[in-house]
Amino acid sequence: MSETHVTPEVEEPEEPTNRPAPTRRMKEWFSRPYVRPIVIICAVITLAFIPFAWVVLYFMNGSGAPASPTMTEIEKTILVFTIVSGPLMAITLAVLLYSLLARGKGSWGRVHGEEPPMQDSPAIRTNSTAVIAWIAATSVLAAFLVVWGMIELATITKDSYGSIASVQGPNAPKPIDINVTGQQWVWTFQYPDQGNISADTLVVPINTPLYFNVTSVDVVHDFWIVELGVKIDANPGAVTNTGVTPTKLGTFNIRCAELCGLHHAYMETKIQVVTQDQFNNWVREMGGSRTA
């Protein structure tokens, strides 16, 4: 005896007909009890967050303001990205806070897990307005970040002589080569163009391109000139290159940015950006020869 399987007919929800105009639907959506509080929380957090971008910069500049075009570009990018991320963070926090706090009675407390759900209309299987708006908004945001990032990357690469050819124009100043060696837990610097003089602090002339040949004799370190926006790995057995043009006189910080052992936190030294005459004098005092 064969059994006959009868597939029960599933009653498809009726497609909404006579849909209201988009403006009316938007108005209805905004009048939902949970939308307004979330939008308000979102707006408040966004407005409160925007000044935070400058707070980030304030702490970034705790040891000194940017001393090179590279660091200026990096700070600009951080500022813009922090501001752009504000609304995204705000909407996440707003939903979280509303879900967490809207438990009482009143307009903020109408979503009660303990109570029966409100009468709802037929399920909406798609909402092309919402889909298009979401895709458009996120695409514009992502495209903005990508384009901005690529432009800044190209600018910073040029400023840091990612391609040495970029500073070899007919009128371009010749960069000073500096060999940087990291080891647990000190930095040493050698100036091959100035008679191979060596030092434990970096002394460089202002407005002159510097080209760093960075390596390590033990573990991986990371050569980081904080206020000049230079940061590149120092790998044992390999040489990595980067560069910068310091544009501000003063003494700035060099640190290791790669956890490298017991005294990693103490692996720091100074860079002194001086005038060309002061640099020439320093080279002479160190027993070197000025060749550039």
């Binding site: 967490l100 060696t181 080891q183 647990q184 060596s198 434990d200 573990v219 936190a265």
Partner: protein, 230 residues
């Protein structure tokens, strides 16, 4: 409201656990007692007449009969294979003083990876006296250890860098009656500035494991320590 309260309490418990762990780890640290340089008089320097202090350090190739344990390291933790160490690691110098350090070095040579540290840096005249002879550097192949003082990340303290290579005892050196070879004697002087806190360590890899940077090169109490200028 109850849920918010639970959330806050959970976060607070997390903060207390993390902060408590950090404080506990900080409290159980037992740095070896400070070893202070002795002021012996005054000295004429380019900076004028200043106090003159002296200090003596030993570098032992390992612990054993007649050799003390590394500072702050109990016998039970002394490596059986023998690790080299400085006799004192928490050093203290008076501020604005000419400090003269004499090191008796008993250990053999190891490879100095960076020739910069075969040179003398930051001392008076950038020289040191090796067994009675003044020099600004030694053969990198004859370096046993270095005594290198450098920066400590503390704001508003003067920069301080001193590095002196420690001459190695030759491999064929004969032991004296006390069972040890005659040590190399290295003497150097430097000026201290304003009060501050720094660290020192050996920059000549003398440990084990990768590139000789393990063991004593990565633990407190053997080849590294603090320098406090008071």
């Amino acid at each position: 409201m109850k849920r918010a309260l639970f959330t806050i309490i959970t976060v607070l418990i997390g903060v207390i656990v993390v902060a408590g762990s950090a404080l506990w780890l900080y409290a159980i640290q037992k740095p070896s007692p400070a070893y202070a340089a002795t002021v012996v008089g005054t000295a004429n320097t380019p900076q004028g007449v200043v106090k003159h202090a002296t200090m003596t350090l030993d570098i032992h190739p390992n612990s054993g009969p007649g050799v003390p344990n590394p500072p702050g390291v109990p016998t039970s933790e002394v490596d059986a294979g023998g690790w080299p160490f400085y006799s004192q690691t928490s050093l203290q110098f008076p501020a604005h003083t000419l400090v003269t350090i004499t090191v008796h070095q008993y250990d053999g040579a190891s490879t100095v990876w960076n020739p910069y540290f075969a040179g003398v840096h930051g001392t008076v005249g950038n020289t040191a006296v090796f067994n009675g002879k003044s020099a600004s550097s030694i053969n990198p192949a004859n370096v046993a250890h270095t005594f290198t003082i450098h920066q400590f990340p503390q704001a508003n303290q003067p920069y301080f860098f001193v590095s002196v290579p420690m001459l190695a005892v030759p491999n064929n050196a004969k032991n004296l009656a006390n069972g040890f070879p005659a040590p190399q004697t290295i003497t150097f002087s430097f000026m201290t500035g304003a009060p501050g806190k720094y660290m020192w360590n050996c920059e000549d890899p003398c440990g084990n494991s990768y590139q000789d940077f393990g063991g004593v090169m990565s633990q407190h109490g053997y080849m590294s320590g603090t320098v406090t200028v008071v």
